[in-house]
Amino acid sequence: MSPSSGVRLHWRDGLRIASVGLRARPMRAALSALGIAIGTAAIVGVLGLSASSQAGLLAQIDRLGTNLLTVEGGTRITGGDAHLPREAAARIEHLEQVAQVAHTALLRRDRVYRSRLTPVTNTGGLQVRAASANLLTVLGTGLARGAWLNDGTARVPVAVLGATAARRLGMDRIHAEQRIWVGGRWFHVAGILRPSPLAPDTDVSALVGYPAAREYLGYVDVRDAQLGGAPGSIYVRTERGHEAAVQSLLARTANPRSPSEVAVSQPSDVLTARAAAAGAFDSLFLGLGIVALIVGAVGVANIMIISVLERRSEIGLRRALGAMQRQIRTQFLAESILLAVIGGVVGVLFGILATALYATSKGWAVVIPVEAWLGGIASAILIGAVAGLVPAIRASRLPPTEALRTV
């Protein structure tokens, strides 16, 4: 006879043998794979959702542009809020590489009410701002309903509501009788804005034209009653690629006498930071997923040990048919890995499905990081191998005579 060191099985035979136990008891196999599936789905879902929400934020940043700079009054050296000079906006407009400048001014005394009967203290945290006509263009904010202020409506008691303000006032449509009570008189509501991520202040504001603010709300500069007020926030669109150059000049340009009292910021930084935070995994859910995987692994190990005990006679028969110890070991190890991989693949598919559904409902791009699904399947293989190792070794070490003994 040939002094063979063993015959290798064809991979197709190997796969068939590895799936014997699963086919014989499909319900049990499904339940023990479920633990792995839940864990993998949780991990893939968490990674997929955070990547998708990050992609959503990055897309938003891209749409809004990073070339918007905000100039506001800072803090005086002596304490207290500093105001921008009245002519700050006009001076900034003269800077090279500045494309557009818009501004708003907060009317500190006035509040917005649904009707004249609303108690004065029920302000809803809403504010009144005078806005320059080009505000929407510069901020990239859209209109949800109605119309923006024009030359005519900027002079009469007409307001446009920010997204949050409209929601708090319970207004979701525009009609002729839609009014708000501001500064002791009715203002017609001409339009409602979409959310404005680069200038969150406008979201909680009722916006009126500068002429209307002067005429009906007594908006005057604290220093010069004749000339009208100074802007509170100046929004500067720079030419692309020149943000830094413009940013370094803004404070000096806005207030040459005391540049230190000017606060310049780049609001897209906040969104970028939020995107970075969204990319960081939700460690709680990731932890839960890992716990589910561990529990699943214990389940698989448990099932494999029971399986080895139950299938003693099969092991004995295979040994009698000429299976080597290591072929028995491989069979049970492969069965365990197969079980875990089935769970892993099902879990990955569910994780992807959950991510796709949620991301689509949020309008994000669906992003499944490669490391999520690849890692999910790889960890399933690893779990199967670890969980199946001890049962497989036990099966292979079972003496054939004992395996064939019937009780």
Binding site: S4, V7, L9, L317, R319, A320, G322, M324, Q325, P399
Partner: protein, 232 residues
Amino acid sequence: MNGDIVLQLDHVAKVYGEDPPVHALRDVSFSVRRGELAAIVGPSGSGKSTLLHIIGTLDRPTSGVVRIRGVDAAGLSDAELSHLRAGQIGFVFQQFFLAEHATVHENVADGLLYAGVGAAERNRLAHEALDRVGLTDRASFRPSKLSGGQRQRVAIARALVGDPAIVLADEPTGNLDSTTGASIMELIHELNAGGATILMITHDADLAAQLPRQIRVLDGQVVSDVTRAAAS
């Protein structure tokens, strides 16, 4: 002449445990020639199961030599012994040990699974083996759909499929009623007439008496080895 001997046992002994040692086999020596049909017969506890395991290379003797086709089993590794079993020894068990989720044909073909035979060849040989036991028409059935006698025929076909040097049948009629058992015995005789070497282990002296040669075992020792001169 020596080439005709497929199985040879020389002074085989098997001792279990140490305190006190149990002598399951003592100084067992006999040989089986190609084409023989022999019974190892003895009451339960006589050591015949141990003998079956040692002949089948599923267990190693404490001392003595077991040769299958002249190869000393003691010198072989697990892989080599497995290969020997896959190619040279066919087993038939009292409990059949069929895979319930596989078809009759697959059960028989799996007799060659570990022998290094390709799938197409396995299928062809399985078909032939089923033909020899008269079950070609049941090839696609599950074992659960078969009667006890038919199941044992499947198990016999599985043992024969690789044309082994020797078939070891452990109480092959033990789980069957007498009529079915008789038909299995008939099949065993037929297969032997066709050239198969078969060694049957049984506690049933009447059954053993039907075979040309009877090796009687008692208390781990061969007490008689009788070969009938002429077959009935």
